[in-house]
Amino acid sequence: MNFNILLSFSIIVCLLGLIFQFSKWFTAGISPLPLPSVGTRVLSCCRALFTTIFSAKILTLVRAFFVDVVCQKRIFDKSLLRWATHTLIATSFLLLFFLHALSGIVSDFLFSDFQPTRNPFLFLRNLFGLLTLIGIGLATYRRLACKSQRLKSAKTDWLLLVFIGSIICSGIFLEASKMSSYSTYQSMVEEYGALADEEEELALEAFWVHENGLVSANFKSAPATALVASGQEINADSCIECHASNRSGFMSYSIARSIGPVLTFGDGAVQVTFFYYLHLTLCLTFLCWIPFSKMFHMVSAPVSLLIKAVTKSQPSGLANSLNSQMIGLSACTHCGSCSVECSSNMFYESFGNEFILPSEKVQYLKKIAAKQLTEPQIIKELQEGLYVCTSCDRCTSICPSGINLKELFINARYFLTQNGPPEATLLSHFSFPLALANNFVDDHITALKEVTELFKASFTPLSAKAIPLTIGQADTFTENNSYKGCYSCQRCTNICPVVRSYSNPAESLGLLPHQIIYSLGIGDLDLALSSQMIWNCSTCYLCQEHCPNQVELCDIFYGLKNKAVQSIKTGANI
């Protein structure tokens, strides 16, 4: 009775959770463009489904189902350890779920002679339990061993491993406590045994104590061999048809044997009840938790992988692209494979911003999509993380859930520029692949203008200075002293391909190369930083190479850019 109420409750929670998650696939999304209506998105999804199923693409879909979903080829290609881990946990746990938890429906239907106490069921239950635990062990090992490779583990990652481990362990202990419990033994004898007299009863009990791990007050020490032998005959007549030897339940049997007496304090009934409710509570809680945890990937990752296979990561139209983006976000398991292979990994070490790692970005983008994240400081860090990206697309090609991370990050980058000042990092070579890809060109240019204005407002240009200029402090720029060698020949400016690209370079660029060097010479760093020339330097090094007095102009410009970014970031006054 209790069981049915609890089970129904859990199933309802799980179903509601699933509906909630599915609804997010069609309502939320991250894009600089206005989101299409729910109706459009559902319709687009249906249309895409229809055209896929009723076309040759269905073959791709079937193939992807077996190759990518069932066999997990994407993980297999990258790491045998991860593939083994995932396969052990997923396969064993799913088999336990269907054949053990749903035995009343699945196992009874599949096997006419199903009894949980018969073999191979008793043995297989233990085997799958063991394989799951081995998988959990490997997962734990990976999370610890790859920590130095910047694999981040959140509390929920550990919690999940502990959770699954606890379900398996509580099940094993439940079985072990049943094996050693005298009250369980008695009720079984009463229900199934047809024993003639007390002598037979004692013999059978002796056999079960000897063979099956039963703990009985009647046998403080090992029972006599003759008694066990006659018990074995009774066992063969009355029990063995429906109850295999407990030894085949090797894990629970070992526990019953080693700590049986502790488990069966009293007649063991309390312990059996305790472990029963522990196991049941854990399982039902897990069921409720599935839609709200990363375990939802059991549903979303296969969908994501199938979409990837059919669309080749190019879903048609904004609506479907947002749908698959949301499916992708819900399919992230925080496995961290993307971060381990991220090409920007060393920038994370330098800047200490976790959002540079793709796996960490995704966790917060989930919140952004759900409109749960509004804290400006975190958004700022997230923006930096999105820009400090080499666009090498390794994360997208490695993701085991087939999430189109590249597309997600592009959208997020330009979505965030609409919600606050853009990152100063925009003015770096990280922007090269962005320009090349031609995504959201107008948003990019608007953001560039904003950043440029930010820099212009932070430093005083020549036009705003009191004339004549005064000599400032010496050594305001210590990063590179070569500017002191300048003897004003202006060869740098004359050879500069950027200067010659403008009809009125002084107006467009502010200070010209030689003037920047002068500014440093008179100790006016602020003036040097105000020049737009440093940001428009093509870094071709022609000036530096041609300087007759070894002034390292291009390197000095890099140093000035670093200083300008630093002062904007920290809000420091130079």
Partner: protein
């Protein structure tokens, strides 16, 4: 000869034909390029932001190569300059090296500075040598003029890249000459393609690129041969984007050096991914194949030998 192939971030995802053709060519010349998945970005994109963040990635890459006892073979000029610069800065500044080595130590890596950074042109010209390459050629171009754009960061600053004469570079021309290709003398050869400004000042970036395209065409180039991967993307991708589809036949087509030498070594255009260049069509490939003739040099040497024996 064995090298650790450093592809950088652009080549694997945007110009895979560059490294594929390079591997095919070097295999023909008995050089093995080992792919190392663990390599990360060279650090170049961060240089505007933070100099020390620019150095650390290259340091890690070098430490990985050192751990495997391999020298690094680089295709991209910007990666090359970053690795060379980092090596020099860290060899001169022990304090910084020790500080950054602490970060690498977390992964069990350590940078000592023993690794050599080799640009592919140096490997072909010096390590293998034109003397060894010439006899392996099955074909030679009979008539082909190309405009080379060297790329800035392989030449300058010369005391960092340590490549060759930064004012009068000869290696690329020599390597083309042995293939029967004449490398044109043109204004943009040693200048900037504008890539470093893409995404920061697109207008200026395009202007610098257009200047080079016009210059190379005016010099009479059949093809442009960029050395750096950034130059390649500018000419092969951005040039096309800047052009109206109706004007596509005016585009200056792009080939990379391993594709040219690959054809002369008898490799198929497909093995060299020539068609994967955005600016190349089948007519270009047919034209190139029609220009291949017997390697004349071999005959000359044979003739000379004959006269000696007579």
């Amino acid at each position: 000869m064995n090298y650790a192939l450093f592809e950088g971030c652009n080549i694997p995802v945007r110009i895979p034909q560059y490294s594929r053709s390079m591997k095919a060519v070097l295999k023909k010349l008995d050089v093995t390029l080992e792919t190392i998945d663990d390599f990360n970005c060279c650090g170049y994109p961060a240089r505007n932001i933070d100099e020390s963040a620019y150095l650390l990635p290259s340091m890690r890459n070098m430490a990985i190569a050192e751990a495997r006892g391999l020298d690094i073979f680089v295709i991209c000029n910007c990666c090359f300059a970053s690795l060379q610069k980092t090596k020099q800065v860290l060899n001169a500044n022990t304090q910084l090296r020790n500080k950054l080595n602490l970060i690498l130590a977390k992964e069990g890596l350590n940078f000592t500075g023993s690794v050599s950074i080799k640009h592919f042109l140096t490997v072909l010209h010096d390590d293998i040598g034109t003397n060894k390459i010439t006899p392996s050629l099955s074909w030679k171009f009979t008539k082909l003029s190309v405009a080379v754009i060297q790329g800035c960061h392989i030449l300058r600053p010369r005391e960092v890249t340590l490549f060759e004469d930064s004012f009068v570079p000869r290696i690329t021309d020599k390597l083309l000459e042995i293939l029967g290709i004449s490398s044109l003398d043109w204004r943009g050869k040693l200048e900037c393609c504008g890539a470093a400004l893409a995404g920061i000042n697109n207008e200026l970036s395009h202007k610098l690129l257009q200047e080079k395209v016009t210059g190379a065409k005016a010099a009479g180039a059949d093809y442009i041969v960029p050395i750096c991967s950034y130059c390649h993307l500018q000419f092969d991708t951005t040039q096309k984007e800047m052009t109206e589809p109706t004007e596509y036949d005016t585009i200056l087509p792009v080939l990379v050096y391993p594709q040219l030498i690959g054809l002369c070594l008898g490799l198929e255009p497909d093995q060299l991914g020539i068609k994967e260049n955005n600016t190349i069509n089948q007519a270009h490939i047919d034209g190139l194949l029609a220009l291949l003739g017997p390697p004349v040099d071999k005959k000359k040497t044979k003739l000379k030998k004959k006269t000696v024996t007579c």
